[in-house]
């Protein structure tokens, strides 16, 4: 299929991009890597009047070290994220999850920020950012603001971004000494996750001090599995405590039933996958 006609703007700076978006009115949309938007255009599920293509905004690309955090430009492609030495060393959870995103072609086009701004609960990056307590740096007509991951994902395909705002970068705390793991379950290798579990866990000796667990595709947004996290604090790092904590994985979630899987099955998967992810992250 062919999209309906639209105006097109290709700014080279963030401010210019915000201007273009504002000028474009409420039907203007931001085009990042296009891996979600272009299919929607082609299927005519979306018909924006203008596309603001961020492909030439160089300041939105790349990863930099900012002390206790990494700052990832929103337009950094998945492939660039995957190859980045800082990411590999300081945010291995992102690297591991990124490797599971779709296929090689998509990873070379799709962007880290685009997959977050799209706010698809079946996407891998939203739950990873949620588990890492990332901070979202946003630019709009009235300047810049920061939003924590816990407030960024508002609803299905809805983020805290206003229509005239752009996600510029994401700040990811370095989790030195933490163990992390992303457990993804899908029907075929390039499919969306039926369920995914992102885990970060900190232990001293044989005891778990802190755990962060976020679930992919278990609600209309990525969700933290607080029941699991609470059950783990102070628990011994054993298979038994992982299994016991995993039982809380689906608490408070609202998974959907669709052609790919039933809600019941997703609930079951969340429990099993959480147990497995915890075990791997804790190194047991």
């Amino acid at each position: 299929m062919i999209p309906t006609a639209f105006d097109y703007s290709r700014p080279t700076g963030v401010d210019e991009a915000v201007h273009a978006l504002t000028d474009g009115g409420e039907d203007a949309k931001v085009l990042a890597g296009g891996q979600s938007l272009i299919p929607m255009l082609r299927l005519r599920f979306a018909a924006p009047s203008m596309l603001v293509d961020l492909g030439s905004v160089d300041e939105m690309r790349g990863v930099r070290d900012d002390g206790d955090a990494l700052v990832i430009g929103a337009m950094t492609t998945h492939a660039e994220v995957l190859d980045d030495p800082l990411i590999r060393a300081q945010a291995p959870l992102i690297a591991q999850a990124t490797a599971t995103v779709a296929d090689r072609q998509v990873r070379h086009m799709g962007t880290f920020g685009g997959s977050l701004a799209h706010a698809d609960p079946a996407g891998d990056m939203p739950s990873v950012a949620t588990a890492l307590d990332a901070t979202f740096e946003i630019a709009g007509p009235s300047g810049r603001r920061s939003v924590p991951a816990s407030e960024f994902f508002v609803d299905y395909l809805t983020s805290a971004l206003e229509p005239d705002e752009i996600l510029v970068s994401v700040r990811v705390p370095k989790l030195a000494g933490w163990g992390t793991h992303y457990e993804k379950f899908n029907r075929v290798a390039q499919a969306w996750a039926l369920v995914g579990v992102a885990v970060a866990i900190r232990r001293s000796n044989g005891t778990i001090d802190e755990a962060r667990v976020a679930l992919t595709n278990m609600s209309s947004t990525p969700v933290r599995a607080h029941g699991v996290e609470e059950a783990l604090v102070g628990a011994p790092a054993t298979d038994e405590s992982m299994a016991a904590a995993g039982q809380h994985a689906a608490e408070g979630t609202e998974p959907t039933s669709d052609v790919s899987a039933s809600a019941d099955y997703r609930t079951h998967l969340a429990t099993v996958l959480t147990r497995r992810a915890l075990g791997t992250a804790a190194g047991i």
């Binding site: 062919i2 006609a5 379950f185 029907r187 075929v188 390039q190 039926l194 052609v259 998967l269 996958l273």
Partner: protein
């Protein structure tokens, strides 16, 4: 029995890289979509969003007002000239053949059915204009489930026919005199197995979407189409529209795959043909992938009730099959015949004394079904091989041992089955032995036992599939008995050019198979010319004026013989000319290594190239000899071809998540003599992948209103290489008797064999947990549910999901 002639040369049997690959892989070739003609209009087709509705109002006017839109019409506008979509295989005298207009006129019967057309100066404008067409529908009741469709009072898909039943076709070995009576076998049986298996609906996912260009401006109306069947298409266009056959030229340029999905004449082709004639200018239609999924014909979709009768020692005494086959809303070119192609294969490789088969075709408000790789035979092989495993389980016997008890031994060929086919050759013992060895059968059984013992969350399953198939479609006489509308012969021509080069013209129509390479290899050996000197022409009814195209693993098995015969005619025709040049008696000549030589006299002879030049100049021809070395040959087989093999699959099943991972896969196939081993291996790999896809991944799903939920590759999950195992392939070689090359078909073998191997393996991994069936595709959720139902004790005679 004719003994296969041993004429192995330098080329046949050689792993030649395919000569067509460079252009196919780079795409730098003539695909239908690449064709652009002066004044050409681009068609957009509006499709029904309703599964069943009366069209109460259509107005294409608003679309016509848009800039760039040149023409627009609805079904009513072209009702008198569009022709009707043909079905050439009414399998019984009383088969219901409903009206099937290419563009719906009054009523739509499945989502995606074409309802109106716009023609614009470019594709994008055509797409925009579709949204401007005004159309109103009055919804009618929808029926999707086959058993509901046959129930009293069910909504009718075609009200005027008074029924949703298309036909009932029966084959009974007692009545046909080909075997015993099944009812008696059942009464006498020591054990009877009753099973229901479901063949889910699949969607052929060829790489190139269906595309068509029609040019009405020349002497003839020329149609380029991404089709498997250019010859059949021309014939049916002529018969259906009344345009004289000689005024139609059909060209299948390079075609990007088909898998049976392009063994069709399509409404889109007919619509484009009508549009071009109506406008008097060229038109192009290229469908989107969503349109392929929605309206290209689907495959499979059967409910199979199987009864297997056996003795306690495992010997099977009879099989009875009751089938419901979903036709969809309309009949495609051979829709009713697809399950009938399977009817002859429910005996597989076995000596079943009694056989009964009954199939009813059923109309529903879904996209029509038709041929999909294997076409009837994968379905039959699946039900049979699943039932053989279930029998082994009931008897507590090894699954391979049960098969051994009943299979035809190599010294029993030719063997006539209770379905009435005469299998010409085979060696099931040899293929099985080789497969078991490569697979490490006994070792895997030991590992399986230890995993069961330790309660490993990941269980191991071993799946067996032994198969044979009837391919090489087909003996015309048998097709006639089955009420098929055409013959099954194939044709080839050989043209010797003055420079000694060769043009081979084939009536088969490759769409990825590699005929140009394989036919060149055969001709090179037969004519004694270099491989590179042979050019293979195909797919254009002007150059290849006669043919029955490519499907049913027929091209080499039937068309290959036509080629061999045409080559032989050329060799025979050149003999008197060579004798004349050598100044000897033709009777003293032999044709060896591409040279005519006086028998027993080594040294310089005359080549075909020498003769070709002599014929071209014709300055000095022997008296009474025609100045031509060209030859045509048409071959009609007396029997089908019966490749066979043994496939073994080991799966690891994660009992916590239900995930199935194929650990190893061994395919040992016997396709007779092989022309190009690399092409054969590729066919097996692709076929196995497609069969695994049915077993584990793919299913077309409609919602209750008849909307296709799996209309994109996001929801219709075709596996990629990342989801598939390494496939170990090997062959045994039992030459096909009566075939000068000894070759059997290979195009569908992998698809036929692999699906039951995988599902048997999944069930085998879980039998000790009480699971006796998992419905296809065996998704993680279905496997998990099967385990859960078994654990809940809710399972009676098998988990049915």
């Amino acid at each position: 029995m004719t003994v296969t002639e041993d004429r192995s040369g330098a080329e046949v049997g050689r792993e030649r890289l395919r000569k067509e690959d460079a252009r196919l892989i780079t795409g730098r070739t003539m695909w239908t979509e690449n064709i652009s003609l002066p004044g050409m209009l681009h068609l957009g087709i509006l499709r029904s969003p309703m599964a069943h509705a009366r069209i109460t109002h259509v107005d294409v006017g608003p679309a016509l007002e848009m800039s760039g839109v040149v023409e627009a019409f609805s079904g009513r506008d072209i009702a008198d000239m569009q022709g009707a979509m043909p079905c050439v295989w009414p399998v019984t005298e009383d088969t219901v053949l409903p009206d099937y207009p290419p563009l719906a006129v009054d009523e739509v019967r499945h989502t995606g059915e074409p309802v109106a057309v716009v023609a614009a100066r470019d594709h994008a404008t055509a797409m925009d204009a579709l949204e401007a067409i005004e159309i109103d529908y009055e919804p009618l009741p929808v029926v999707l489930d086959m058993e509901e469709a046959l129930a009293d009072g069910a909504p009718l898909v075609h009200a005027d026919t008074g029924t949703n039943k298309c036909y009932t076709w029966v084959l009974d070995s007692a009545e046909a005199g080909t075997g015993d009576d099944v009812a008696q076998a059942e009464a006498d049986a020591e054990i009877v197995i009753n099973r229901r298996y479901i063949q889910q609906r699949l969607i052929p996912a060829f790489m190139e979407p269906r595309s068509v260009v029609v040019d009405p401006t020349g002497e003839q109306i020329t149609m380029w189409s991404a089709t498997q069947v250019p010859h059949i298409l021309r014939l049916l266009l002529a018969m259906s529209t009344g345009v004289p056959e000689q005024k139609i030229r059909v060209i299948a340029p390079d075609v990007g795959g088909g898998f049976g999905g392009k063994l069709q004449v399509t409404p889109e082709e007919f619509i484009a043909f009508a549009a071009a004639r109506r406008f008097g200018r060229p038109v192009k239609y290229v469908e989107s992938r969503s349109e392929t999924m929605l309206s290209g014909h689907h495959g499979r979709d059967q409910i199979q009730d199987v009864t297997l009768c056996a003795r306690r020692d495992g010997t099977v005494t009879g099989i009875s099959v009751k089938l419901l086959a979903n036709m969809g809303a309309y009949l495609g070119i051979i829709t009713p015949g697809i399950p009938i192609l399977g009817a002859f294969m429910y005996g597989g490789i076995y000596k079943f004394p009694a056989y009964r088969f009954e199939c009813s075709g059923v109309f529903t408000n879904t996209t029509k079904t038709d041929a999909y790789r294997g076409a009837g035979r994968p379905e039959a092989t699946f039900a049979l091989e699943r039932a053989m495993d279930d029998l082994a389980d009931e008897l507590g016997m090894d699954a391979m041992e049960v098969r051994r008890r009943s299979w035809i031994n190599h010294d029993e060929f030719p063997y006539t089955t209770s379905a009435g086919l005469t299998y010409d050759s085979g060696n099931y013992e040899a293929a099985t032995e080789k497969a078991m060895e490569l697979f490490g059968y006994n070792e895997l059984r030991r590992e399986q036992a230890s995993r069961r013992e330790s309660g490993d969350p990941v269980q191991l399953g071993i799946g067996i599939s032994t198969y044979t198939e009837m391919c090489g479609l087909a003996p015309s006489r048998i097709l006639g008995q089955l009420r098929y509308g055409a013959g099954g012969w194939e044709t080839a021509s050989v043209r010797m050019l003055p420079t000694g080069k060769v043009e081979v013209i084939t009536g088969t129509s490759p769409h990825g198979q590699g005929h140009e390479t394989a036919w060149s290899q055969i001709a090179a050996d037969r004519l004694g010319v270099p491989f590179d000197d042979v050019e293979v022409l195909h797919g254009d009814t002007r150059t290849s004026h006669k043919g029955l195209d490519t499907y049913g693993s027929r091209s080499l098995a039937v068309g290959g013989i036509a080629l061999v015969n045409a080559c032989q005619k050329v060799v025979d025709k050149a003999k008197p000319i060579a004798a004349h040049l050598l100044e000897c008696d033709p009777a003293d000549l032999e044709f060896v290594d591409g040279q005519y030589r006086v028998k027993g006299t080594p040294g310089a002879g005359k080549t075909l190239a020498d003769c070709a030049l002599a014929v071209f100049t014709s300055h000095d021809m022997p008296d009474g000899v025609e100045s031509s070395l060209d030859a045509d040959a048409t071959f009609d087989p007396e029997n089908f071809s019966y490749p066979h093999g043994t496939h073994l699959c080991a799966t690891e099943v994660d009992t916590e998540t239900g995930r199935v991972t194929i650990r190893s896969y061994v395919a040992v196939d016997d396709v007779g003599r092989v022309v190009n081993p690399m092409i054969v291996e590729g066919q097996v790999h692709g076929g196995v992948a497609q069969g695994i896809a049915q077993a584990l991944f793919e299913e077309a799903v409609y919602d209750a209103d008849g909307n296709l939920l799996t209309g994109t590759f996001v929801d219709y999950t075709i596996p990629s290489s990342a989801d598939l195992p390494d496939i170990v392939t090997d062959r045994t070689e039992t030459p096909a008797p009566g075939h000068p090359l000894g070759s059997k078909g290979v195009g569908e073998a992998g698809t036929i064999a692999s699906t039951p191997a995988v599902v048997n393996s999944v069930v085998d991994a879980l039998r000790h947990l009480g699971v006796s069936d998992v419905r296809m595709p065996c998704t993680p959720e279905r496997v998990w549910q099967a385990i859960r139902s078994a654990q809940d004790g809710a399972q009676e005679g098998g988990a049915r999901l």
